[in-house]
């Protein structure tokens, strides 16, 4: 019995190796998805049922019914999240250049802090939903900010990126994906890697 206790650290470590090893294999199998694996739960599903009040007085909030008709990029951000700051100039440029409409979900953030953050860094979101409790974030499967989703014309989530976007992500994955979602009627054929 006493001997068993000494094996515990080894077992815990084996669990760690198993999980991370599996994860890396997954990344390698599809480097397009790396390291931002789409959770099996939400990919290709319609956007969840939700309604978020607006963050700002002059921009609308977001609800399920607003999706559909055009391809939308949804970016989850918070002022306390450092990587958000890193990717924000890219997000802003996508909005400003009209590549795709960008909607924001402001996640677990105090209203005044979020507003100040946008004042400082710029704001090209067309809509911003204010998700103070993070409930809607959970519906969307958010587990680390920033996260970025692409929603197709039928209102289904087609792509999810966890972590800050980089310009190479945009060039290699996001832009081709947007292009494809815009052109092809069957969005199913646009899955990452295509």
């Amino acid at each position: 019995m006493r001997r068993l206790i000494f094996i515990v650290p080894l077992v815990v470590f084996a669990g760690f190796v198993g999980a991370t090893g599996w994860y890396i294999m997954e990344i390698q199998r599809d480097s397009q998805r790396a390291p931002n694996i789409i959770g099996a739960g939400e990919q290709n599903k319609p956007v969840p049922e939700f309604e978020l009040p607006p963050l700002l007085d002059d921009l609308p909030g977001i609800a399920t019914g607003d999706f559909g008709g055009e391809v939308i990029m949804v970016n989850v951000f918070a002022s306390w999240c450092i990587p958000c700051r890193a990717e924000h100039p890219l997000i802003t440029r996508i909005g400003e250049e009209g590549i795709v409409p960008v909607w924001g979900i402001n996640y677990k953030n105090k209203r005044e802090e979020a507003i100040a953050w946008l004042d400082e860094l710029g704001n090209s979101y067309e809509r911003i939903g204010f998700d103070l409790s993070g409930r809607v974030g959970i519906e969307w499967g958010v587990y680390g900010v920033p996260e970025t989703f692409l929603i197709d014309k039928s209102g289904r989530i087609r792509f999810k990126h966890v972590g800050p976007l980089t310009s190479s992500d945009l060039k290699e994955t996001i832009f081709p994906m947007i292009d494809c979602l815009n052109k092809r009627p069957q969005a199913e054929t646009c899955l990452s890697g295509s």
Binding site: F16, Y23, Q28, P35, A40, W80, I82, P83, E120, G141
Partner: protein, 664 residues
């Protein structure tokens, strides 16, 4: 040519590591002293070879040799010299070379100062050290060659990320690596002890200075990183629970626990297998941190370019190093005899409580860091783990640890008496109440949590001073005698006192800096003024200037208090020409009790800018407290008893009271 020599030196170092890893180990098993004696010269040669490789890479950076791919990707001819050099370790490949260099340096130091170690232990320690070095050298050469050439060479380099072009950050990675890698020595000692099957007070005394050195560097590295984040990132925060920060914090927590449990092994000859486990886990967490940051498993702002292939390789290294040592632990540790018994309320008990809380805190940080991964692997419902989560879980674990740190040193070994200890702490209790009352009076209206933080810090501070007063007999004898006794205290006692005081000051600083901060973010026109924390900030002007490889927008604020000019602050924004990235250079005005902090944001059109102004009480305390902890650690390291080189002969001179029978 120089780059090829560097590459060649690395290959040779790999060979030497192989020899150093195998031959002394065989020698120790066979009791062949000639084979064991291979270890020290091999360690020295390895150090020289890795140092040559590091020198070659540094040279390529200094002369801006852009035919070396690594230099072309990370340097620029216009960069100031300091950042050309710090650029060497500002990227994946170069930082690994630094990592291996420090590893070789520790090996060399063990070879140099290990004269008094039993020959088998020394041979095995150096062999284990070499095996770790072999793994990393192979990783470096096979997946991350820093000396790769590029043809045709580009006209100029890509430049280093401007955020990293900062004096604080130039020294932060070497410090941190010295800490991470320093734990490798404790690890090697632990593995060697498991192979030997012998852990005793002498072993604990040998392992402690290395752990302490690593701990000092880790403390300095973490403090520097936090300080850098504070003044460079420009939003007044100092700790973000970012995976990379966590990667340095977990080994620190475990090293702290290890330092304390090694005391128990040394003085009381018990807690052996636990201490061994801590030594293994401390370095394992350093390795896991390295793995998480470089494999792309977790994304983070300071992550190096990640690459799954490297990830698999590092994971393999982890399996061999950590899995192997834990296997050895599972096999050999159960046969270790526990030594002296003790009551729950005793010095040992206090140290164990410290250990439990530190380990739990490290586990919590690890779980939080890995959470996104676990969620993904197990397909759990998605829950977010961010800074708020860490604060909720981590702070309640640290509070009791700090309270116990005040009481523990007053408890006797073996069987302590809580009543006597508490009676001696009555002045500390009074002091805590007074300080907390003063804080309540000065900062009324802030959250109750902040006063709890101050109370805990005040408790640790006053209790530590009480313990010191008791030791030197303050109040029980003439002041002159007390001073003489203070002078006669061993440096390790002073080390403990100063470090615990430093911790108290740091905790107070963190509390003030996080919970008493006022911030004001607004759009200002030239001539506007805003009041923050009782100071009036007048926005005078914005000028355009030029730096060596960037453009500058510099704002001038005149700060007034009660109408009088208090100071002038000049925050800057820099745009780097090559990378076209902006950095903010906050203006910080420091006084002993607070920082004023001004940031120039983006232009909002015409003569208006976004500005951010913070009034952050007690921020300087965090840095002073960290310095005290570093000083305390250094004092303890310089204690004669622990001095690397001549510990054991001095032992009999020590007062018998502190020495358990049969510890020699």
């Amino acid at each position: 040519m120089i780059a090829e020599l560097g590459h060649f030196a690395l290959v040779l170092a790999l060979m030497v590591a192989l020899v150093q890893g195998v031959v002394p180990m065989v020698g120790a098993a066979r009791g062949d002293i000639r084979l064991m004696d291979m270890a020290p010269p091999a360690a020295t040669v390895q150090l020289a070879l890795v140092a040559a490789a590091f020198g070659a890479l540094t040279y390529s950076y200094v002369v801006s040799d852009f035919s070396v791919l690594n230099v072309a990707q990370n340097s620029h001819s216009l960069k100031p010299m300091l950042y050309k050099i710090s650029g060497v370790w500002g990227n994946h490949e170069g930082s690994l070379v630094l990592w291996v260099l420090i590893l070789a340096l520790y090996g060399g130091l063990v070879a140099l100062f290990g004269g008094n170690l039993p020959p088998t232990l020394k041979a095995r320690v150096l062999a284990v050290q070499a095996i770790v070095a072999f793994g990393f050298l192979a990783f470096l050469l096979l997946t991350s060659n820093p000396f790769e050439r590029i043809f045709p060479p580009p006209m100029d380099g890509n430049d280093l990320n401007p955020l990293l072009q900062d004096p604080g950050l130039a020294f932060h990675p070497p410090m941190l690596y010295a800490g991470y890698v320093g734990l490798s020595t404790a690890f090697s000692f632990a593995v060697a002890a498991l192979i030997e099957g012998k852990v005793d007070a002498a072993w604990a005394r040998w392992v402690r200075p290395w752990t302490l050195a690593a701990w000092i560097f880790l403390t300095a590295g973490i403090a520097l990183g936090s300080w850098w984040a504070y003044y460079e990132l420009g939003w007044g925060g100092f700790w973000f629970w970012d995976p990379v920060e966590n990667a340095s914090f977990m080994p620190w927590l475990v090293a702290t626990a290890l330092l304390h449990s090694a005391i128990v092994v040394e003085k009381r000859d018990t807690l052996k297998s636990w201490t061994i486990l801590l030594a293994i886990v401390g370095f394992s967490l350093s390795l896991i941190g390295t793995f998480l940051v470089r494999s792309g498993v977790l994304t983070s702002v300071h992550a190096f370019a990640s690459d799954p292939e490297r990830g698999i390789f590092i994971l393999l290294l982890l399996v061999i190093a950590i899995g192997g040592s834990l296997l050895l632990f599972a096999w050999r540790a159960p046969s270790m005899q526990a030594g002296g018994l003790f009551r729950p309320v005793s010095r040992e008990g206090g140290l164990i409580l410290n250990n439990l809380l530190m380990s739990m805190a490290a586990a919590v940080v690890l779980i939080g860091t890995l959470f996104p991964l676990m969620v993904d692997a197990l397909n759990l419902p998605k829950i977010s783990v961010g800074a708020p989560w860490f604060n909720i879980v981590f702070v309640p674990l640290m509070m009791p640890a700090i309270v116990v740190a005040g009481i523990g040193p007053l408890l006797a070994w073996k069987r302590g008496d809580l009543k006597t200890a508490m009676a001696r702490l009555k002045y500390a209790a009074i002091g805590t109440v007074l300080i907390t009352a003063a804080a309540l009076w000065l900062a009324w209206g802030y959250s109750m949590g902040s006063f709890l933080g101050i109370a805990v810090a005040a408790w640790l501070g006053t209790a530590t001073l009480t313990e010191l007063a008791g030791r030197i007999g303050l109040g029980r004898m003439p002041v002159g005698n007390s001073l003489r006794r203070a002078g006669g205290l061993p440096r390790s006692a002073w080390g403990m006192t100063v470090t615990h005081l430093g911790l108290a000051v740091t905790v107070a600083g963190i509390t003030g800096a996080s919970l008493w901060r006022t911030e004001s973010i607004q759009v200002m026109e030239i001539g506007d003024s805003v009041e923050v924390g009782g100071y009036e900030f007048v926005f005078d002007k914005v000028e355009n200037l030029r730096g060596p490889n960037y453009f500058i927008e510099r704002a001038t604020f005149t700060v007034r208090r009660d109408g009088e000019v208090y100071t002038v602050m000049e925050p800057e924004k820099r745009r780097y020409m090559v990378q076209q990235r902006e950095t903010t250079e906050a203006a910080i005005f420091t006084t002993p009790m607070k920082d004023l902090y001004a940031v120039l944001g983006d232009r909002a059109g015409g003569d208006t800018w976004v500005t951010r102004i913070y009034h952050s009480p007690l921020v300087p305390w965090m840095w002073i407290g960290s310095l005290l902890m570093i000083l305390g650690g250094t004092l303890s390291l310089s204690d004669r008893r622990l001095r690397v080189g001549a510990p054991s002969r001095r032992r009999p001179a020590k007062p018998a009271a502190a020495q358990p029978a049969g510890a020699e």
